[in-house]
Symmetry: C2
Subunit: 146 residues, 2 copies
């Protein structure tokens, strides 16, 4: 499949809301930054709104962060847009008559869950404020090298 960039785009969007808070925050403007379509932006915003990470007002270009960025972790964003989608996929269709095929799903699910939890714990440790800070540092580096 095409690899999903929705998680990355959602982080991008939220950082944009903060850094460009003083500009017109239309889905068009945000889409220009992500280089996607306004509809895709509104779709992502819809998921972020349902997860209560932002608030919006229909008809007006005033999306707002629902809480301070240091209180939103990458894991919050991940859950908002990807739900509980597993990082590692179990093959659901195997031969139940076989010792391996009949038990592999439940066994792998456990170990996969452990690995995913480890990754999620790391995501939980990073806040969007960290991302914004890093973005500004990177930008300053670029400016200095010109």
């Amino acid at each position: 499949m095409r690899v999903s960039t929705r998680f990355s785009d959602a982080i991008h969007l939220l950082a944009y809301l903060k850094i460009y808070a003083d500009t017109k925050l239309t889905s068009d403007a945000i889409a220009a930054s992500i280089e996607t379509s306004p509809v895709v932006v509104r779709r992502i915003m819809s998921q972020l709104r349902r997860a209560q990470l932002i608030t919006t007002i229909p008809g007006t270009a005033q999306p707002q962060l629902a809480k301070p960025l240091d209180q939103i972790s990458l894991l919050n964003v991940f859950y908002a847009v990807e739900g509980d989608k597993p990082l590692f996929a179990v093959d659901p269709k195997t031969n139940p008559q076989c010792i391996v095929g009949g038990n592999i799903q439940s066994v792998l699910s456990q170990y996969y869950q452990d690995a995913q939890t480890a990754a999620e714990a790391r995501l939980a440790k990073t806040s969007l404020q960290d991302i914004v800070d890093s973005l500004l540092v990177e930008q300053a580096k670029q400016d200095a090298h010109q």
Copy 2:
């Protein structure tokens, strides 16, 4: 896209080689357990062979594990079949003129790498022997409940 189950299928295959070592290990027989086609099985075996996890002899149905199962971690298998494919995808096409769009890739790559490393560390802690042991325990449970 269709979600990739190659990692799971590769683990399945290796566990099958161990548990059914006394049977005819044709790609057909293994395919019946995974419920896929023999060609897919041979493709996965090809990757496992290149990663030196198994040895095979062309023309004969004698795939062999290249080392004891407790010396093969899930991470070894993951690398064998998925390479260094990232778990989280960065959106490569964003507006470089924007503070966010121009720096988000390098920033996210760092944090994503941290999360992936955490997951991989967990995969490295589990060996295929652990998987086989778990499979046999699960099977024993099923047998007991009949």
